[in-house]
């Protein structure tokens, strides 16, 4: 249960970070607090959109899903529900893969690092590790 609670907290943190980047992307926030300037370089690049959808919004949607599933998972009735474990692991794995792709773009293509993206990457990686640990726990029967 403690792992899932941690996943929920991490998902909430990730949701806040992604929301901040998304608000910047759609122009609600005019200035991105970054320090290095790398955030704007990354956010203004072509890679900040995927098929016309801001990558930050993909993050908002992904973290919101993780948060939702995680909140269900911390309810006593779903504490041992295998479906929750699988859903969390699947979402976190997809998120981790996407994070790897975005980090590679930052490092290898744009040569710019966005601190907020790094924060999101750390959160997603931790979420992924915890979700796999949750999955590897005792396989229990679905109620």
């Amino acid at each position: 249960m403690r792992r899932r609670q941690t996943i929920v907290v991490l998902a909430l943190l990730g949701l806040l970070v992604a929301t901040y980047l998304w608000l910047y992307k759609i122009g609600v926030i005019g200035v991105l607090q970054c320090g290095t300037g790398g955030c704007e370089a990354v956010q203004a690049s072509r890679y900040a959109e995927l098929f016309g959808v801001p990558v930050a919004f993909v993050g908002v949607a992904g973290y919101a899903l993780l948060l939702g599933v995680g909140l269900v998972g911390v309810q006593p009735a779903f504490a041992t529900d295998r479906r929750v474990e699988l859903a969390l692991a699947a979402l976190a794995t997809a998120g981790f893969g996407f994070t790897l792709y975005l980090t590679a773009i930052e490092l290898l293509v744009l040569h710019a690092i966005c601190r907020w993206c790094v924060a999101s990457a750390v959160i997603m990686t931790a979420t992924w590790v915890l979700s796999l640990a949750d999955l590897r726990r005792t396989p229990s029967a679905t109620p």
């Binding site: 909430l12 806040l16 901040y20 122009g27 005019g30 607090q33 704007e40 370089a41 072509r46 911390v74």
Partner: protein
């Protein structure tokens, strides 16, 4: 369990507060201003021109895409100047970038115009940026809008994106700023007519009078 929800609420409140507070801070540099200049910085480029090479009078304009006076000049005076002085072969017009540091996105806009110029559509992007000048009043990130302008100007968006991502002409813009500063440019728009600073009120009528006067004095080029 109750403690967990309290923690969750605290994270949400603090995080939301940080986002709200962070969005109110001082402006940071735009991508073009903050990133290192490309190696091929100043390539000796002297600005995009309009009009015949044989024109006896050249007007150099130092301008900033985010500056409202520049936008007003570009949309109100410039069409008349184009018709009366440039299209008639009397004047060659040279545009030089002079993005003011007080404007958050002017350097980014200058980059967009330069990237339009790379595809032979500088003036189309110039017109888009000045005609749709609402972007400069919002303080919002104009990246998507500029892409729309690029699309409307008929640019190849893949090439435009690559140009913007690489900030390919940041060096040119900086060189133009330095050139302007060396000439004493302190604000925008600032004009030089045949190398001499024009200090009058920049209207099409004023330029026409000056050009007519100079045309009488200047011998035709051989």
């Amino acid at each position: 369990m109750k403690g967990f929800y309290v923690l969750l609420a605290a994270v949400a409140l603090i995080g939301g507060g940080v986002i709200w507070y962070g969005s109110r801070g001082a402006p940071v540099a735009t991508p073009a201003a903050s990133a290192p200049l490309p190696v091929a910085a100043s390539d000796g480029f002297k600005g995009f021109t309009l009009g015949a090479d044989s024109a006896r009078i050249e007007v150099t304009e130092y301008s900033d895409f985010e500056c409202p006076f520049c936008a007003s000049f570009a949309t109100v005076q410039m069409p008349v100047i184009r018709e009366q002085l440039i299209a008639t072969g009397k004047v060659r017009w040279r545009y030089r970038d002079f993005p003011l540091p007080s404007h958050q996105y002017s350097r980014y806009a200058a980059l967009a115009a330069q990237c339009g110029g790379e595809q032979g559509k500088f003036w189309e992007m110039h017109d888009q940026l000045f005609t749709n000048h609402q972007w400069a009043q919002t303080g919002k990130n104009p990246r998507s809008l500029f892409r729309d302008f690029a699309r409307a100007a008929g640019l190849d968006l893949d090439k435009y994106d690559a140009c913007m991502d690489g900030q390919r002409y940041a060096g040119r813009i900086q060189a133009s700023v330095q050139e302007g500063e060396a000439l004493g440019v302190g604000g925008t728009p600032t004009f030089f007519v045949n190398g001499k600073r024009f200090d009058g009120h920049p209207t099409s009528d004023a330029f026409k009078s000056l050009v007519d006067s100079l045309t009488k004095q200047t011998k035709p080029r051989k």
